[in-house]
Symmetry: C2
Subunit: 465 residues, 2 copies
């Protein structure tokens, strides 16, 4: 909404202005009705995050905590460093539990113990409980802020209880129903409460849960349940079927973004760290480390490929013109191979294909490979014929024979590279590995070597016979 | 939830069994309480989608339409082909509006007009209205099934109206409030209705909208609003601020998956079609077309790079050993260049960086490049020294000099490739283009050529002097 967007922008600018002029009471009044995300944006644009947060803290611990949850992790850490520990503890206790855990892991280990003493038992308990789950599991992303009511209560009792609880209103569409042992029994929507008889027992109007996540379930599997059932939230249960948390669709948006970034990085041979800061926030060395690991392996492979070419030294000596088109063969192989691999990896990730369908997949890719091979082979033949007029000496083979050789070799390289790009991810998946790991750089380097063998073998056969 | 997952699986298997045994009334009773997504899964696993859908249609048009919305597009088309047109029209009229539009575009053009005559005015109107929006805009993904009430109504009137409307319950957390001209005025949550005085006027309890989407707004921008404000749904308005639709978080999950797939494909030089079927559903030729476009350009570039190497024919003739390590130089350049490009493209896509910060970004990448250059350069020097013992003849330069040359050239190639990989996406972004387009294959092929120039220039300087 263009108008609403402009309104938001104007309000944000006004707030930044008020902060600059130190008109803090007007600033506090202004943010009263603003979404937390916008307030966080305003604070991030101000010169002194700590100063502004002190003002908000003086007004309301709870609001300050909520807003801090929307700040970048770098700014959250800045607050930890610059606020008096006691003030920061108040903020921390009011942050969203799942975001708080992530922040806690960024606090230097030697300062954690000291900091814990400023927190109340409940916060510490919640912190360590959430921390005990794998960060990529349902437990690692769930919120512990949810409503649950007992199956034996009446509609009226539930409504009264709901009135008393303070919370983020937008979380409250479903109320989960549990028994005395906290075992999840179902859900009622607020809408159902609206139309229900006030004396009715919740147990009589409770509906089945559509889907639930186990605390240890992988976050990607939880995301797939959201996509399959079009969910807004999902209850999280433990091994005893007790309700322990709630995952909302906004958490799942984050999960999908995070997993996509990881997949894209894996495709490019960038290895994964434990906890990721954003691009500018993370150190040069952490970037270096993430990228160099694969590169070292690939460089070693590259050096070894020198040995392969050496085998064909004689052919190469005789027809130096072959060296001119080595990059063409290698690059095309890398391109078609990683195209095929990324298409397969993506289709596997989205459950569009499964490895049971391996024959269908390979057969399909083979036909695609043939079409691409013929197209590029012919193109290369004409290209080389055209530009290669002065490339060979009088006593060498004609440029047309060279062009034929290159066309045939390129076609063979395309077919083999697409087959490698197709089969590698399927094989890795079969052995329960992550297909994205055998991605672009690995395949590129591999088909560089196979491509050179194909190239020089073809040349030896066609030129020397 | 392990137990719930097993229950779901058992129920699905039971249904498949019932279909096989043609016990249709038991099947209809069983699916009564099942989520539509599960029923769709069962139908897709059965041998005859059309047969099963006929049974469900005989039971309820509305249920059959809902379930069809969850089927794959290939199955939806199968129903179009095999059901009597009149039956299919009933199904179609009950499908979710946004999914229906996508399906309509897949129906062969010459059959569309004939089919339209079986539909009622309202469905046709809705269809063409939704069809008029860009499929990648808010209008293209919004649902037209939403609740809106007038600002002048009382709480009691609203509750009575809600009772009368049949709909997917899980859509109904907020009720949007409009005035007599359908202009969006705000929202009330069902929870607020629960606690409000029955005689109160909605206008007095209405809350501001946190965010809204304009019908023509790009779907990726809408997704960013969801992520920023942690939304469950967003109202869609037209140029007159009238409420025209609603986008739910499940639509946004689809948008993000789709955009990520596109980005990944762009990274791999796979061009985009208008409407994408899943991997196995799309034709060989459409796969071929998507992949070959970039490849043709890159092959031409590859042929041209032959001309570049020809310039160094003399050096190459003298030191054939240099040809052995051409693939190393080219592949490493491609790898580091596309790593850098994809990191930058990803950070731009997630708004972690903006082009205003170009200096900071380039400086950061330069330092990373230096670290990688030094590491790989030293590695290549030792590698080549080790394996290259018998690669040079007595009268040629020593293998150590060759290894030094390769180490230096590789370092220079790493630095230049990372700089190209960093700057290209930033430049494209500056000119409002899509950074993902100058991705892996383009950069790989480009740095292949610059790498060869660097390589032979370094060799000429160091070996010939």
């Amino acid at each position: 909404m263009i108008e609403l967007d402009t309104l938001t922008e104007n309000q944000n600018n006004l707030c930044i202005d008020l902060i600059e002029k130190k008109q803090y009471s007007e600033f506090l009044r202004e943010i009263e009705t603003m979404p937390y995300a916008d307030v966080a944006e305003v604070i991030e644009e101000s010169d002194d995050v700590t100063e502004v947060m002190k003002i908000i803290l003086a007004d309301s611990d709870s609001k300050a905590g909520r807003i801090t949850s929307y700040l970048s992790e770098a700014d959250q850490l800045e607050l930890f460093d610059n606020l008096p520990t006691e003030s920061f503890a108040k903020l921390f206790a009011n942050m969203e539990p799942d975001i708080r855990v992530d922040l806690f892991q960024l606090i230097p280990e030697d300062e954690r113990k000291q900091f814990l003493r400023f927190l109340d038992h409940k916060t510490v308990g919640n912190l360590f409980l959430l921390d005990s789950y794998d960060p990529d599991s349902a437990g690692g992303i769930m919120s512990t802020e949810f409503e649950a009511v007992c199956i034996g209560m009446t509609v009226e009792e539930v409504i009264t209880e709901l009135k008393d609880i303070e919370h983020r209103t937008h979380n409250l569409f479903y109320i989960f129903v549990i028994d005395d042992d906290k075992v999840l029994k179902g859900r009622v929507s607020i809408r159902e409460l609206l139309f229900a008889d006030k004396d009715e027992i919740i147990g009589d109007i409770v509906k089945d849960i559509i889907a639930a996540a186990h605390v240890d379930e992988d976050q990607e599997d939880v995301a797939k349940k959201f996509e399959k059932y079009d969910l807004y939230n999902i209850p999280v249960i433990n091994g005893k079927n007790q309700l322990v948390g709630l995952i909302n669709s906004d958490d799942i948006l984050d999960v999908i973004r995070e997993e996509e970034t990881e997949d894209m990085e894996k495709l490019m041979g960038i290895s994964q760290g434990d906890h990721e800061l954003s691009y500018l926030e993370s150190s040069i060395f952490s970037h270096f480390k993430k990228r160099v690991i694969w590169l070292i392996g690939l460089t070693i492979l590259g050096v070894v490929s020198g040995l392969v070419i050496q085998e064909f030294e004689e052919t190469l000596h005789k027809y130096v013109v072959l060296a001119f088109f080595m990059p063409l063969i290698a690059a095309t192989g890398g391109n078609v191979g990683s195209q095929a691999a990324s298409v397969i990896i993506r289709a596997l990730a989205l459950d569009e294909i499964s490895i049971d369908e391996w024959f269908e997949i390979i057969f399909k890719e083979l036909r695609i490979a043939l079409m691409i091979a013929v197209s590029l082979g012919i193109l290369a033949f004409f290209g080389v014929s055209l530009i290669g007029q002065n490339m060979t000496t009088a006593d060498g083979p004609s440029i047309y024979l060279i062009a034929q050789t290159i066309g045939v070799a390129l076609s063979l390289q395309v077919i083999s590279a697409i087959m490698f790009g197709t089969c590698f991810p399927l094989i890795v998946k079969f052995f329960k590995g992550d297909p994205a790991l055998v991605a672009s750089p690995a395949i590129t380097t591999f088909v560089d070597i196979t491509g050179l063998i194909i190239y020089f073998t073809t040349a030896t056969v066609m030129l020397i016979g």
